[in-house]
Symmetry: D3
Subunit: 336 residues, 6 copies
């Protein structure tokens, strides 16, 4: 029953996420809901639900917490043959869900985690990338220390060797590392990237290029040219409250191509993973209709909006659900 | 302390409903909230809370699941003396609650259920209908197979014999049977019906009458006349998201009587049973003020809106709560 | 690490609050979430989170329910050395959360509670008030019977003796006592009050003063003068549904001072304790910037809005959270 | 489908019971499981599950807590036409489940409850007792004050008038009233009693009769004669831990009849209601096999043991389940 | 990181299991815990945790319930490429956990399920069995109707073709089919079987062979010879209560080989799946030490005992945990 | 109402403990119950419930997880003025509860936690110890690295300076540090210790003294003399299963004093913190009856047994509960 599908590879940490139920504040929680998540893991899981053949490279402690993360990936159909085990610390993050005018909050308990000790020697990268179609990474992994960065570059070299398409999500997080350090690393990544997820702010402030281009459109076109990118995708968000937002997606491409979707108003059940769902939606769009970046942007934004209607870090929607939303504008009656 | 009250009878299946908590999707559920429901059961339960003397005719498996359904009906004050027991299958349905732009979903696991084997011989219908005031049925029971339909007609004959008023809720569900089959059965029901719950679409497409009447009002008047109906009630719904809707109720009567309520905007906690609560509200309105179909329509729409603010299939509101909503437009402070 | 802080004292009942989870109606609840609350207790707990040195005077049954209330106060940093124990009845209230057009409901099970037997002899009031800065009470305690009122007046005398500032929240509740009785007691309190929380209705109907002043502003100015008050604070609320409201705060002061905040629209997770959070926010504002009643009103209204985004009776926000909301209008991204 | 069954009537309070889940201590509970219970209510509910036609006389507050208690009784098939409503206080009790060497604990919050204001004038006692077969009461109701006692005697007079058999469960609770007071009331009840549930201690200390009879058997025979009783039933309990006990039932009858069951060892999930389940088992035994007190004692002890394997105050077992336990000694494989 | 492992294949239904939490009875359940299970699925899941390469053949409805079952199998590392989808009914079973003297109960809601429509044409059986090491089936699948039986025999033919070892667990369930029918089918299976899980009762009553052999040992030896079996494994169980049992495993082999383990006393958290865990433990034992049936019997009984200490249908223990139990007799301190 | 009480000080980490509910295994948990615990924190919390004036010195991250730990300590009446804040990592441990023959498991996620960065400079140790009566520490803190050890010795010097009694619980944990390292540190602690909690194995293997004394009694006497100890307390444990154990306490003192309690059999709800509850029970016993080490040993063992009947790390029993258990041997009826 299985067909030939694209082999998509990603690399990154996967953490245990602990969320107090029912909008309880963290310091008053008497229990936590447990699931697993992490930027790149979220992207790959959504792509698996969209029908692709997905592989995740990571490193986890050799205990039951690590086992749990692997079982989680497996349950979503991810190939877990390339997961190293070692060190004692599981990356954990705590999420306090926002409500109304009260913002959500994330507390990281991930420093010194097993992933930060990852090395290329633990993996058969040649075998992993040989028959791959796509490789996705994000700026979060770059922030996780020297070893994590070495691993990223090792993978990128194999991706290049086998002409695997590379997508990179900027995801600069000031809580994880100072901008000065990021400014040194991000430019080194760019030569490997085909598809970029970034905002004008990212280009201007982190890549520090085109600084004199005050017009965003020109800046993005400049980046396309300078780094020989296929497309840059991004989205803007308006916040009315923790539970009501609006989003718009855009895409830039060579020859001044530019497209932006309409502005979508939507309700939020769980904010986390919205950007990752956007990335996986876009990647799926590009794999399905490679010549139609508009479709990819629309598909990405809807995958992201739907993600925010369910609990947890990941979008688990099938293609047909996303297409239906696109045709009904999310105004469907109960299906019965 | 008990007064003389109207005896209202209904017939239909009652299913176990299983809902994943906290907007979880069905395939990821690790638990389900259990309650019981079914179109006609929901109507009769609400009528019991509105103070009537209610009887439910059904058939359930002779096991603890059947016992649970009976205890549930009893707890709402329903007379359960006329419940046959037999066959091994409990009708079950799964409900995934929608959120924002994600629609709700129902999965039926009810084929071959105990109810589908119901026969008139299992009941003393003469005794049931002899002193009854009202009999309510819906199109869902018609869809549950040959035996269910035979049972409906057996009851209708007794209702006619004892001049019991009959209300019928169209409730055509394409998931349960093809329209071609329905088109044969629905017209046979109409001669027995006094109060109809239906939309112009129902009249035009299922009853296949007045097809050349493009004006809805004329179509409804045509149906009133053709089937000698007292009233036709209905409601229209606008969907902004799974959690925000607007509804308007209307009523048609002989001599071109027509009334429609204002449009109510409201928030949804649980969408299921809205139509059933509308029917029970209308029936209560008509029993209370038989000459005032406007009141019935208003009472019905508010019972329906309030239903959607609580979990489960049924409206459990008392008359005073509905009247209060009608006077405050649902803008009350906390009662303390 | 502890600094010198204001010592704030309050007196009142603290009850066990029982709330059915997930918007369930009380009569159908199979479980209740337990927390503790009561008007004055809520005020003092919020003030403790805002950094003050807080003392609560109350009376509780000498059993595990009383112990639980004390542990609760302790966990919020309240000094519990002045809690008498006696009588067998714990004050309890049940809260049914409203949703959409369905209002919330409170059922009191508090008559004859341990608190209603409180006497000044059980406490060393001289020691309590000697070094206090502020004393807060509310009209709820006045409604709890003869002994409760005697206790209030005993405390007020000590407050006067030691020049402790007194704030009084009107909180007239018709469910607890008839207005005729209240009209006799409230005026006796006024000579002790410095800061009043009240509406024009309160002044006009409960204090029965300035009855011929139809203009609210003039009425409030009249009350300021008559009772030699520093300020009167209040707020108005518009109800769109049980989950969406708007509020505006106002303050009146001598010499025709008047200020009102903008109107804030907000979403409600738990309505209870909104007025108490307003009071504690205002008190904190006045303690921080004694000359700036505008700041106090703004701080109070935001503390109140934030309160309504969390479960339970009390606002547990730190000053920085409230200030952030004031600067972002409650439109913050998730903090990560 | 309904057959002619014995009409059994009982009178007593029904309280809301609140139990912290998972063996949590009361003062640390963040939630409580809610069910309803009370000595006589427990007896009548079990008798309903054993197939009898059951009526409960009580008084409840006219609010949702009272409604909940009534829905609970209805769900167990109890006739609730004879329930007066009035006063604001719902009787509540808190149960902390014992574990191992830690004993369970009950905290009553029931003083001044609606039931304590009950009066015969609120009921049509003649109608209730006219066609009744059995009336069951217990010493708990006697402890609830003057009005409760008056109500008991009013009922007993009607029971006598219509030759309704009367069973009385001693249930003396020192926490509810002093023994001196009980010693005055209990003897007044005895002339009405046919079946007594009591221990030698009860006879000797509360009834204060046969004090010089040091032999228990002779004491019980003395009581049988003195009060012209049909039978006295009782049970003894050995406590190994909160979760492991042993029980033995005995019965005394005229002409030196004496029988005791074997000693049953059993595990306890919920200790509460064990005595009530014993009483209902015995009553059912006597109604089924009036000449076989041994069967009644066995049936009662097994109903009591099974009760202690389920949560809540009441035994909901059917006759066949009890008979099966009696034949297998509670050593059955999973039924599949 | 993956090594060459045995490929084990199994065939059977997988059902949604619904269990009321906290020992609640089914008819009173307000929620159910959801997991998935089924005799053969349980065996294959445990074997996956013991390190084998596991494939499951089944048929599920093409809806979210079917998806959930597949995700469940995936999360345990099972290959799910051979799962047909069709028909609307998900097999469901309800489990009421026993406690003390109250037995557990199973209610099946599985008739007409998607699995009962399975056909060999839906699968590429040649590919499945070509490189397989072991095939496990049980008598439950034989009971699920004509099509299920055809599927079993189709698989057995491929197993024979490719010399795949076949184990068969008797599992005769009288609730699913009459013994007369079973007696016709079971003998047809035997020629394909290498390893049998059966009791003397099974041999004598279902296979109806060796009926004149009253000695169990001789009967088992007779079966070994008649059907040319490698081994027959089985276990006996003593029931002290629903939560305390004892078990002993035995094995019979050619040349009068016989071995039985010591009797293990143990506590039960969840009884279901004990037999399946025994089978998977034995299979793992035989795959690990093919010449040591004693080891297999010990390993199987301990896997079964450990299964009964966790919730759900399946043993998820690793080899090291089972070996540790074998060396400590299950008397280990907390591991920290 | 507060009396003069002993001031007891302790130092150590306090961690967030996460336990899957209902005996779920860690890798399959979908939620965790949250509480706080740590060896010394557990001791001090129990002492607070036994009526003492308790202070805890620790270091926590300056985020909501740290706040939660402090609120927890406050709710148990612990003075939290001496808690430093810094570093980002909260010590966390996961507990899998054992059942029957399946042992419990602890996974530490505590390396690099905020506590491991503690320094004496962050505290006013002089003020803390000046008026203290007792100081309790344990070997766990010694295992947490160089800085933790420096902090221990800094405290011990102040304890010596102000003649504060010092108790030390050996608690050697091989998972936290190698024995070779421990063997260097433990002897350095001994000169400061008055009351020791240790086993003969601890003395022989960790302190490496009296190695040629094969008789345990002589070894303990040797240690008493060598280190000039007041008493050595300890307990032995027999494990029948994860839920049934037996324990015996012993005490050694100067002049060959030796006492051991009877062996207590008991049931376990939560094994963690048993040793800490023993220590706090002994300390309370010694503070209450300084000349009666037998009483202290009995009191300690019962506090430990009762601890194991409740969830969480800490014993929250009052003196009267422990005394009652001592007099009834834990065989009390439900208290009502």
């Amino acid at each position: 029953m299985k067909q030939n599908k694209d082999k998509i590879v990603s690399l990154g940490e996967i953490m245990l996420r602990l969320t107090p139920p029912d909008y309880t504040r963290i310091e008053q929680a008497t229990s936590f809901i447990a699931n697993y998540g992490g930027g790149e893991a979220n992207v790959i899981v959504s792509l698996s639900h969209l029908g692709h053949n997905c592989y995740y490279i990571t490193r986890l402690p050799p205990n039951q917490l690590g086992d749990g993360a692997i079982d989680y990936l497996k349950s979503h159909g991810i190939n877990t043959d390339n997961i190293a085990r070692g060190s004692s610390i599981m990356g954990i993050y705590f999420l306090e869900s926002g409500f109304g005018g009260r913002p959500g909050r994330v507390i990281y308990n991930r420093k010194h985690s097993a992933f930060t000790r990852i090395t290329p020697e633990e993996f058969n990268l040649d075998k992993i990338f040989k028959d791959a179609t796509w490789f996705h990474i994000s700026g979060i992994t770059l922030a996780l220390g020297e070893k994590a960065r070495e691993m990223v570059f090792a993978c990128l070299k194999y991706a290049k060797k086998y002409q695997v398409k590379v997508s990179f999500d900027f995801n600069y997080r000031s809580k994880l590392w100072p901008i000065e350090e990021a400014q040194k690393i991000y430019p080194l990544i760019m030569p490997y990237v085909n598809i970029l997820f970034a905002s004008p702010w990212d280009i201007r402030t982190v890549l520090k290029t085109g600084k004199n281009l005050t017009d965003d459109d020109k800046l993005m076109q400049h980046a396309i040219k300078k780094y020989d990118l296929e497309w840059i995708f991004g989205k803007t968000r308006k916040i009315f409250s923790s539970t009501e937002n609006a989003m718009t997606a855009y895409v830039y491409g060579p020859n001044n191509l530019y497209f932006s979707t309409e502005e979508y108003n939507f309700q939020i059940f769980d904010r986390i993973g919205a950007g990752d769902a956007f990335a996986s939606g876009v990647i799926h769009g590009l794999l399905t209709k490679p010549k139609d970046p508009k479709f990819a942007a629309e598909f990405g934004i809807v995958n992201s909006i739907l993600k925010q209607t369910i609990f947890g870090d990941v979008a688990t929607f099938k293609e047909e659900e996303i297409l239906e939303y696109m045709s009904t504008q999310g105004r469907s009656e109960v299906k019965r």
